[in-house]
Structure formats: C-alpha cells, structure tokens
Subunit: 188 residues, 2 copies
C-alpha cells in the first residue's frame, strides 16, 4: 500500500519545517515548534518519525545523498582540483543554510551507509586531484571529509559576520591542501 495523499504531503511539510526550525534555533529546538510551523499537531510528527533522532536522520540522509551525487558528477571534470574546490564550496553553502554535523552521532545504519558512499565519492575526487598535482601528496579523502566542515564551524563563532565569510577560511584551508610549500604531515 502506498501512503495516503495527505500523509505524504504532511511528511514533506514536516521535513521542510524541521529544516527551517533547526536552521533558526538549532537541533535542540522542541519538536512542538516544528509541528506548529508545519501547521500540524505534535503527535503527527511522531507518527511519521518515531523519534526526534529519526527526523534528524531523514534530513541528514537527504543532505549526504545530495553531496554524494555532486561528488560523483564532479568526478569526470577535467580539472580535478577545481572540481574539489567547487564541491567544498557547495558543502559550505549547504552547511551555511543548516548546520547539522553529519559525521559524529551515529544515526542509524541507513545514514551510516550513505556516509560511506559519500566518503568513497570524495576519496575518488581527492585521488584524482592529487594525481593531477593539485593537492599535496600526503592528503587523503578522509582528511578532506573532515576538513570540509571547517569554514562554517569557524564562522559560527563570529556574530554578525557577512554571509560569505566562510569563503575566506575555505581559501586558507585549501591553500593548506596545496602542494606549494607543504611540509610533510604527521601520520594519520
């Protein structure tokens, strides 16, 4: 049986509302607020997502999937270094709109598998960029995956920052990933 029409509509309303509310108030925002924003009752939220973490997981899954798709598309670009930079820009923009850490906090197996797929796609991108000499030889896909959240995390600490301030720190970070003048790295 496919879900009832209104149920499907409400589910997606809830997801939109959750993204909005989490963006404004952080993930600690009460579930009731999300329900209200979607014009629904609190019980409905729990009908669609048995637990608040399940709701968060659904959002994270969507975002991780998008990132994976972009990384895969970019894998064929001629200039892998430029492609990687574009990927990191997209990730930063996505994270600027809603800051959810999708790395820690084990949310279910489904998200875990999606994270793994993303990790693979990023590693492919990084490997090509490194092979083309756009990255220092000792940097890995895992490094990039960990570092790609940095620009937003940094900017979060400055109040009233211009919305594109993260570009500045992405630039510094990316210069640190380049081969020019790179000192050998401590081991993983």
């Amino acid at each position: 049986m496919s879900p009832r029409a209104d149920a499907a509509r409400n589910r997606s309303s809830l997801l939109s509302a959750a993204v909005e509310v989490f963006a404004e108030q952080g993930v600690d925002a009460p579930v009731a607020e999300i329900a209200h924003r979607a014009g629904l009752g609190k019980g409905t939220v729990f009908r669609h997502f048995p637990t608040k973490d399940d709701l968060i997981a659904a959002i994270v899954l969507d975002r991780v999937t998008r990132l994976t798709e972009l990384a895969s598309e970019l894998a064929g670009a001629a200039d892998a270094g430029a492609a990687l930079l574009e990927f990191m820009r997209y990730a930063a923009r996505q994270r600027q709109q809603l800051d959810l850490s999708f790395l820690s906090a084990d949310l279910g197996v489904e998200v875990g598998e999606a994270q793994l797929r993303m990790s693979l796609a990023i590693t492919a991108l990084v490997d090509r960029a490194r092979a083309q000499g756009a990255l220092r030889p000792d940097v890995t896909g895992t490094d990039v995956m960990l570092l790609m959240c940095v620009p937003n995390d940094v900017v979060k600490h400055v109040p009233d920052a211009r919305p594109d301030l993260w570009e500045r720190y992405l630039a510094i970070l990316f210069d640190g990933l380049r081969p020019e003048g790179a000192r050998p790295l401590p081991p993983f």
Copy 2:
C-alpha cells in the same frame, strides 16, 4: 573578610571536578554530577556559583587567561612564526583536555574583557610573524583566533582517534597560513 578556609578549598574542588566532568560528558553534564564528584552537596555548587553559567564562566576565564599569558611570553621570541605555532599547539592541547568554546556564548563582562586581552596578545604575535615573512600578508590576528580551534573541532568527529591527531590538521592549517603559494584572500 576573607573566605573561610573550607569554603576556599571546596571552591577549588568544585572547579577541578567541573573540569573533569565537562571533559568527560560535555557542558550539558548535570550540576549534581559535579557536586558528587567533588564529594559535596548540590547546594554548595550554587553557593559558590549562583548559576551553572557562572561556573562555566569561571573555567573559561582561567583558560583564556592562561592563553593570554603564554601569548605575552611568546611575544619576545626571536622566531615569531615558530612562537605562533607553539602557541597554537598549546591551545590545541588545552582544548583537547577540555573542549569549551570560549568564543561564542556571551559569558559575563569579565570573560568578555579577558577575551579582548587575549585577542590583543594574539594579534601582536601574528603581526610580528607576518612582518618576519612567516605568514601570508593578508592574514590577521582575528583569523588566527578563529582558526586556532579548528584542529580539535576536526578531530572531535573521528571516534577512537589517536590523541595527537590534531597535529596533522594543525600542520595543514598552518601551511595554509604561510606565504608560499598563497592566493589572495576574500575580504573580511
């Protein structure tokens, strides 16, 4: 009137216990746990620190002050670049032991002033390093202050990481701050 001897002792026990507990469980750890760890009653915590935030502020104040002192000492070093790197290493180690963000979250004026003093000391260090050609021309003290938390924040996302993994990301970051091969930075 100076405080009673046992009161002073208990106050410092509470601070130690709070550092321990916050390090293990994060700042959301219940106050009762801290009291228990110090072998005291919950009421005693609130006698010394009217609010949980006041307790956190006391810890932050201590750590910011230490950083400021170190930065001041290092200001006279011959190699300002090396001095700055050492400063960032100390900051990372301190933050590894207990991860408290002392940048956001306005904790009282006292902490605010201490943050300002630290900002000044770091800027002095950075200015000297830049003048010596150890840093790219367009990087500022504020940049470094924002970025010095990065290595720990990154490592936080990887479970079971070797305790000195932050060194790797500090190295990448610092290479990004160096003048070699630096692209011009987007504005502040």
